[in-house]
């Protein structure tokens, strides 16, 4: 194309693309009993459905990339379109008008790993990975947390030892989403001595099919298997796959964690299947809507949703520190509120699956709610971040025992 893209021209392209591949989304509004009654969305698929979902997502993403609609704000030299973030939102808005397949498989790839490579990678690394990630060929995962290093990421123990042009990685990672389907892992490991803490960590981009990697799915309380344990036994990673300087991984990890938080913020809203409107519909279907106390609860739900969206947009535009932490704390609180309201509306209908549409399915929301407070940095860590970075309160003094170490 030689004419420069405009909002109109890109919108037209998007409509043409989506219309050719997917039916228009019907607005169910407040209908109860229509469509899928899953209320939680991403990451909660049962294992058996996952392979098909991934295959479908890969096909979709490839077509989208080839149509130059996948990476609108990416540099043209890397396969992006070179447009502003407004175009990303424009196309996302149009996509929402169609029954497009879920691309949540790429949540980590596009939301977390790709931006990190773009920010910290060498030219070669960008050329090598970004087109493939955005085309959907390279599903990515993140390999940060360890059994003994959750909130305290600086204490991680998995090591990488230099061996000629390679590094030999040994250790164990955990809570890694998509690791069981990923081709590329963003890996944070210790390259310095243990007492160097965050100053002795380096970041690598590891092929997930390297010898020595054992990925074991972890079953969650919801019964789904979204997270994995990843055992690393002498895995060889070329030094060319190092992202940033040796012992310079911490700052890169912080970029990543920041993106993760806002991705999770978005995910909880965007990918959730409109829980609030579902609650209105549920209350209508049971007749509880006539109860003023229920009306009050629904109003609170509706207001929370408005306030969350407004906050996410407002803080992103304002560009202040740690917007992701605010959004994450609001989101976890909102999720718990919604699941409490659902429970109130459902009563005994939530305790067993009698097959009735849209009743027992809410129990999945209830069961997944506690995990949201841990994933992407626990709520406690978010509060520390807000207190220290936004409000300027003193960091907790380290205990004497650690200082002397």
């Amino acid at each position: 194309m030689t004419t420069p893209a405009t909002h109109e021209s890109v919108a037209a392209e998007a409509h043409t693309f989506f219309a050719a591949r997917a039916p228009r989304r019907e607005r169910h509004g407040m209908l109860h009993g229509v469509g899928d009654d899953d209320v939680v969305g991403v990451g909660l698929t049962q294992p058996e459905d996952e392979a098909a979902e991934v295959a479908q997502a890969q096909k979709w993403q490839r077509d989208l990339f080839d149509a130059r609609l996948a990476w609108l704000d990416g540099p043209a030299a890397l396969g992006g379109r070179g447009l502003g973030h407004d175009y990303v939102e424009l196309v996302a808005g149009i996509a929402a008008e169609y029954e497009v397949p879920s691309t949540s498989t790429y949540m980590v790839s596009h939301g977390i790993v790709a931006p990190t490579i773009l920010a910290h990678g060498t030219e070669d690394q960008k050329q090598a990975f970004l087109p493939g990630i955005w085309r959907g060929d390279l599903i990515c995962c993140q390999l940060f947390s360890e059994p003994e290093a959750g909130s305290d990421l600086a204490s991680l123990r998995t090591t990488a030892v230099r061996d000629g042009d390679d590094w030999i990685v040994t250790g164990q990672k955990v809570w890694s989403s998509f690791a069981h389907v990923a081709k590329l892992g963003e890996l944070l490991v210790r390259t310095g001595p243990p007492e160097s803490r965050h100053r002795g960590l380096s970041m690598f981009l590891m092929d997930m099919d390297s010898p020595g990697i054992d990925v074991r799915p972890l079953r969650q309380v919801t019964g789904s298997e979204h997270f994995n344990e990843v055992f690393l036994d002498g895995v060889r990673v070329p030094d060319s796959r190092r992202l940033g300087p040796v012992d310079g991984g911490w700052n890169i990890a912080m970029t990543t964690v920041g993106s993760e938080r806002s991705v999770l913020g978005r995910a909880h809203n965007g990918i959730m299947i409109e829980p609030v409107i579902r609650l209105f519909a549920l209350a209508r279907s049971t007749g509880a809507i006539a109860d003023p106390a229920i009306q009050d609860l629904l109003a609170e739900c509706w207001a929370r949703e408005q306030v969350l969206h407004e906050t996410a947009t407002r803080l992103r535009d304002a560009g202040g520190p740690a917007p992701g932490s605010v959004v994450k704390l609001m989101t976890t609180s909102d999720m718990e509120y919604y699941s409490d309201v659902a429970a109130r509306l459902l009563g005994y209908r939530m305790v067993a699956d009698t097959g009735a549409w849209g009743t027992y399915s809410w129990s999945q929301l209830l069961l997944s709610a506690p995990s949201h407070r841990i994933a992407g940095g626990s709520d406690e860590i978010q509060r520390n971040i807000l207190a220290e970075r936004v409000l300027g309160l003193p960091r907790e003094e380290r205990p004497a025992s650690e200082k002397s170490a």
Partner: protein, 388 residues
């Protein structure tokens, strides 16, 4: 240590030696719970006298009081026991209230021995507009029942069903053998993985009439009141154990070079949960005392404000504590293998059953108004809803 505390220790020790599915270690298989471990139930009967706690001694029971029964429920909740104590003790209580005859004495004795698992089949909440099964007379002095009830606890393990049915426009209790061809029990996938439930479909099941009208009402009262106290006590037990587990975990889990239980955010969270737990314990004892008082003066129990206090608090607090316990366990707390979620599931499930319609708080208000002689329209309105 007082008697109640001693009883709790005895039950606890037995359950630790001979644990249920939840605490046997390893990943819980929900299908295993769906089937009842009969041998274990008989051991609980022979070694602990569990099913007969409140059955009079003359029928082979231990003849203990309400406070003791509640203590047993608390321990069973603490252990997430999957035995049929809740349901069989409700049937036993109803049978005592319903009929003082040979057949019943025999049933009580078999329950006490752990040989008979009988389950009450009635909607738990008085205000819920569910249809009751219908009974009609059949050949040979027997009766025939048709109807369906969802979410019947222990239905898949029952030898017999104690069914509340509509007979000629009144409530009546019937005894139905579970192997009758007119009985179908459909196992249900349950939120609470340590509690079996089923939908009971009665398609002309043969039934024996046990009691009707006034006596039936007494049985209904005994079952509903017992179910409320039992599930509330389970909530207290489950919450206690979930808090203990969390506190133990945060003492040993270290991050940033110190036990996470030394961080003030974690300490204060645990302290708040302790306060919540004390609220639930108090709510339960308010309910027990109000029932004891009510029994002493011989009034109908359904609209007791004290019971409503337990219904409001025990489930809510247990859900809070068990949820926070998952959180305090961090990542491992939301893995399937860790038992934390089993406690959360029991707590939520009981909470849902304890106030299935969200009407308990306003019923409480109505009964407070009535007790103050403020027999306003409101009080009568709700009283009308409760009365049958």
């Amino acid at each position: 240590m007082d008697d109640i505390e001693q009883l709790r220790q005895v039950v606890r020790a037995h359950l630790e030696r001979d644990p249920g599915a939840a605490l046997r270690g390893g990943s819980l298989d929900p299908d295993a719970v769906r089937r009842l471990d009969r041998d274990r139930w008989r051991r609980q009967a022979s070694e602990l006298g569990l099913p007969g706690v409140r059955i009079p001694e003359e029928f082979g029971g231990a003849g203990m009081g309400l406070a003791e029964e509640v203590a047993v429920h608390t321990e069973l909740g603490r252990a997430l026991d999957d035995g049929p104590f809740l349901t069989t003790s409700l049937v036993a209580a109803a049978l005592v209230a319903l009929a003082d005859d040979e057949a019943n004495h025999d049933r009580l004795a078999r329950i006490a021995a752990g040989d008979l698992v009988a389950v009450p089949v009635l909607p738990i909440e008085e205000t819920f507009p569910l249809e009751y099964p219908h009974a009609k007379a059949a050949a040979g002095g027997d009766f025939e029942i048709r109807g369906e009830l969802p979410c019947v606890v222990d239905a898949t393990a029952a030898d017999a069903l104690l069914v509340l049915a509509d007979y000629q426009g009144y409530h009546a209790f019937f005894w139905v053998e579970a192997n009758d061809p007119g009985v179908e029990v459909v196992p249900l996938k349950t939120l609470d993985l340590t509690r079996r439930m089923g939908t009971v479909r009665l398609t002309g099941a043969r039934a024996e009439l046990l009691a009707e009208q006034d006596r039936a009402r007494a049985g209904v009262a005994a079952i509903r009141q017992g179910a409320i106290l039992g599930m509330s006590a389970e909530c207290v037990g489950a919450a206690e154990r979930a808090l203990d587990m969390a506190v133990d975990y945060v003492k040993v889990r270290t991050q940033f070079g110190r036990p996470i239980g030394s961080f003030q955010a974690v300490k204060h969270k645990c302290a708040d949960l302790l306060v919540s737990l004390e609220r639930a314990r108090s709510a339960l004892s308010v309910a027990v005392r109000s029932v004891q008082h009510n029994d002493a003066i011989g009034r109908r129990p359904e609209s007791l404000a004290g019971l409503a206090v337990a219904r409001m608090y025990c489930g809510r607090v247990a859900a809070e504590i068990t949820r926070e316990s998952i959180h305090l366990h961090g990542g491992i707390g939301f893995t399937w293998e860790h038992p934390a979620h089993l406690y959360y599931r029991r707590a939520v499930s009981n909470r849902q059953l304890l106030d299935s319609t969200g009407q308990q708080p306003r019923l409480l208000t109505a009964s407070v108004l009535a007790a103050h002689g403020e027999d306003t329209q409101l009080a009568s309105f709700y009283a009308g809803k409760v009365a049958r």
